[in-house]
């Protein structure tokens, strides 16, 4: 029978299972399917650090949360409407983040005695049977059995291979539930398994079986539909943060005519930038997987010294190892970009979890007075603009630049109204090509109005010169130990970074009145949560505004004035209070903080509660 259709505005669905259950792929497929319908969305993949933690255990649970809506979406959602739990551990880990009355779709086979024991349920207790889930809408499906059954004609496949298609059954079922087409996933499977006909056909078969199961079993009398979101007109695609960083770098390379060199050492959650850039040799991108983090940055320094644009990508622990080389780049005054996709720390910390706790490290974490510009991305698509802008600053101001992203942005996806290549500005690069008229000797540390020194690369006749990490004499660049010169050079290096404030846009409010009670200031991946919370309070009539800082060092020159227009300033961060210390230090204002450091994003509701108390 044909089910009725119910129109929903907003859905948060979480796919959770063992890390071998293919939940990330399932989530991504459903995300693409959703995006192609023009529905707004945000995702939050959440997976263990271990590639395959022991099967069935709590640490082995891998999750993928997707928030989709016909309204604008800024976060992956605080709490799920629907949980897909492939096993008992997945249910146990996620039970606290399901809405009361929400739907739980449980794979019965994942709740056998062994799985229950692995998930630490007491002997004889099965949450699917004991009534403990009565406040939810529980849908029990024996996914494993149904998958095997639908593949009974595939005699070439062993049980293990058949079971691997379980996630397709679930995906097919969810497609039915939300009244979707299977087309894009079938195309995806064709591309993935094109040469393995049996695997391809078996996956398609199971996907369809899941869909048909929904159709024939009357699991729900109603199917659900979410309409297109009211987004700005244009062409959109789905983009993830690390991918957008890679694209931003390629775009900047094209627009500056500087070939890109990436020196990188694999580290979670930054490695995908290396993977992505390695695929784009057709843009002349050189990627170098170095022997360690230090060689990753120093090889990039070598590339920039040679006139390419050198980039290195890493996460917190790698950042620590690169500190000395960053100092060298500050002394050499050459363009360089260091991207830190932050993760939970200290030490190895929480490799796959998100955190914003490397801001102080970026600001102060080097020996000597060693200022560097810092720029931070706030959403997956914002990574594109921020990477492009970081390259511009590095090249035009002859300085290494730090770009801060984090694990939440890196792996999250959102719709992106991508730009046209022609609409991107050119990044002017001026190599010094020889001695000018009347110039009898090259002065490598003679500066322009930005205090940038000339970029004279090897191969240029007449400009042979030596640079290095020892203190430079002003203008000549010769080694110099004189007290007055050191004071002067320390001041110049600071002023050079400070002066960038004249070449960046002023700080704008993301939303809200220009004067009011509370200004919420954020940076990085807290963007969506702050935006949602502030919009909600504004809708209730409160004078609350939101400013999100992209240029963290130097700050936009109007930031102080902007903050003065509000009675109170709140700075929420996923750390123990880092931006707030810098703001208090620079502006002597009594900003308040909100700090949560649990490896997960701050939720909208938490912020609504905090801001409400300040009103």
């Amino acid at each position: 029978m044909a089910a009725n259709e119910e129109l929903l505005q907003d859905v948060v669905i979480k796919f959770a299972g063992d890390s071998g259950d293919g939940m990330q792929l399932t989530g991504q497929q459903f995300t693409n399917n959703t995006a192609l319908l023009g529905i707004d969305l945000a995702t939050f993949p959440d997976f263990p650090a271990e590639i395959r933690a022991p099967i069935g255990t709590l640490p082995g649970v891998s999750g993928f949360q997707l928030h989709f809506s016909s309204n604008r979406v800024y976060t992956p959602g605080d709490i799920a409407d629907v949980l897909v739990a492939m096993n008992a551990a997945a249910l146990k880990v996620n039970l606290k983040s399901i809405k009361p009355g929400g739907k739980i779709i449980a794979n019965i086979d994942g709740f056998d005695a062994k799985n229950l024991r692995l998930a630490n349920y007491p002997e004889g207790i099965n949450p699917l049977e004991d009534g403990s889930l009565d406040s939810y809408e529980l849908i029990k499906i024996d996914v494993t059995k149904l998958t095997r059954e639908s593949l009974k004609d595939f005699t070439d496949l062993g049980t293990k291979e058949r079971d691997r298609a379980k996630n397709m059954f679930v995906l097919g079922f969810i497609y039915w539930m939300y009244n979707r087409s299977l087309e894009n996933t079938i195309e995806f499977l064709k591309e993935k398994f094109g040469k393995k006909e049996t695997i391809l056909q078996s996956n398609i078969k199971v996907l369809q079986a899941g869909y048909n199961y929904g159709d024939t079993t009357e699991t729900f009398t109603t199917r659900f539909r979410v309409e297109k979101a009211k987004m700005n007109a244009g062409t959109y695609r789905s983009i993830m943060g690390n991918q957008a960083l890679a694209y931003g770098l390629i775009a900047a390379s094209e627009k500056s005519n500087l070939p890109l060199f990436l020196g990188s050492y694999p580290i979670t959650p930054a490695s995908d930038i290396l993977h992505e850039l390695s695929r784009h040799k057709s843009f002349g991108v050189r990627t170098f997987q170095a022997e360690d983090e230090i060689a990753a940055i120093t090889s990039a320094i070598g590339a920039s010294y040679g006139g390419l644009f050198g980039v290195t990508t890493t996460s917190g622990p790698g950042m620590a190892l690169k500190a000395e080389a960053m100092g060298l780049a500050v002394m050499l005054e050459i363009p360089l970009l260091i991207i830190n996709v932050q993760r939970g720390g200290p030490s190895t910390g929480l490799p796959t979890k998100t955190e914003q706790s490397d801001l102080m490290q970026a600001y102060y974490g080097r020996n000597g007075e060693c200022p560097m510009p810092i720029i931070a991305s706030s959403t997956p698509s914002d990574c594109f603009d921020v990477a492009f802008e970081a390259v511009r600053i590095a090249v035009q101001h002859m300085t290494p630049v730090i770009l801060l992203s984090d694990g939440f942005i890196a792996n999250g996806a959102e719709p992106w109204k991508f730009p046209k290549a022609d609409d991107l500005p050119n990044i002017e690069v001026a190599f010094k090509t020889g001695l000018a008229e009347g110039e009898d000797k090259f002065l490598p540390y003679l500066r322009d109005e930005k205090l940038a020194r000339p970029w004279a690369i090897p191969g240029t006749a007449g400009l042979e010169h030596r640079i290095g990490g020892l203190e430079k004499q002003n203008i000549t660049g010769n080694v110099n130990y004189e007290p007055e010169n050191h004071q002067l050079m320390v001041n110049i290096r600071q002023e050079k970074v400070d002066r960038i404030a004249q070449y960046i846009p002023e700080q704008k409010l993301d939303s809200g009145p220009e004067k009011g009670k509370v200004l919420v200031i954020g940076w990085g991946s807290t963007y969506g949560a702050i935006k949602s919370a502030v919009l909600e309070l504004q809708a209730e009539g409160h004078a609350v505004s939101h400013a999100h800082i992209r240029y963290v060092r130097p700050f936009p020159k109007n930031l102080g004035e902007l903050m003065q227009q509000f009675d109170k300033v709140l700075i929420p961060e996923i750390n123990n209070g880092q931006l707030i210390k810098i703001i208090r230090d620079q502006y002597l204002i009594d900003a308040q903080g909100y700090h949560k450091i649990m490896g997960v994003p701050i939720t909208k509701q938490e912020l609504v509660d905090v801001i409400t108390k300040m009103l």
């Binding site: 023009g38 695609r237 694209y247 002349g284 170095a290 230090i294 030596r466 290095g468």
Partner: protein
Amino acid sequence: MSTSTTITPITLTAKDFATDQEVRWCPGCGDYSILAQVQKIMPGIGVPKENIVIISGIGCSSRFPYYMNTYGMHSIHGRATAIASGLKASRPELSVWIVSGDGDSMSIGGNHTIHMLRRNFDVNLLVFNNQIYGLTKGQYSPTSEENKVTKSTPMGSIDHPFNPLALALGADATFIARSMDRDPKHLQMVLTRSHQHKGSSFVEIYQNCNIFNDGAFEVFTEKSTKADEALFLEHGKPLIFGVNQDKGIKIEGLRPVVVNLSDGVNADDLWIHDEHDFYKAQILTRMFDDTKTEGHFPRPFGVFYQTERACYEDVMAMQIDETIATKGRGNLDKLLRGKEVWEIA
């Protein structure tokens, strides 16, 4: 990006490679001679001055770039090899020279050294080995002999030293040579050969630190002992040494033995040096005994080993060229658009 390939029209001399900076090594330091020999060979290697880059790390030797009128970078401790790798990958047409010491290249920078060698970037790594830390005023180094009494090892060092050439060969370096500061002609020959070699050249140069480790290599450099203690390798020539050129090395089974030519041994029966023989090179690098021990081998000098292997930067450029040849130059609009898009009206 400039890819200047102009041939310098005027003939340069060693003086053209000197800078206006005062050379600040201790008087009598072996570095002076090495600098002089590098400056002497540079005009003859056929590379325009602007295409030569010298990268150094930290240590006495690493002041070298300041005294060479080429492009140069005095970088940070141990990382010159990694910086040079990035530069060479980016600008394969440049002649890249790395100046390093035993501490810089084998202690703090040991990792980068071995990885650069295995990747075979076409660069020249000159290791000024003085078996001591000079700039920090006299601690033992990774090449210092065992039991060495220094400021940090008053009871003698416990460390077993590296054998630099064996280490380089173990990392599959494609050119391995040893020379010394006090034999200018030999050093010039080795430096020129190093430049001519396509691939990573590892050149160990015995360099006397007359302040903290004076005389470390005296037996190889002083007239009275040099002939008996140093064995000069020449491709295709038998291994002969000694004041009267009457001692030779022969291979018996898998072992080298010292024989006396006056005992009726024919020069034709001696080990004939073959720079391309990997196995013999292993044995040569292991002729590294303490010169105070009875029956020790002479220490070989010259080019131990040379072979051809693809250079990292060339294959890297080839992959890019191949991609562009088959797929065409990247199109930014196509990249940003991706595979799946949707329209919002």
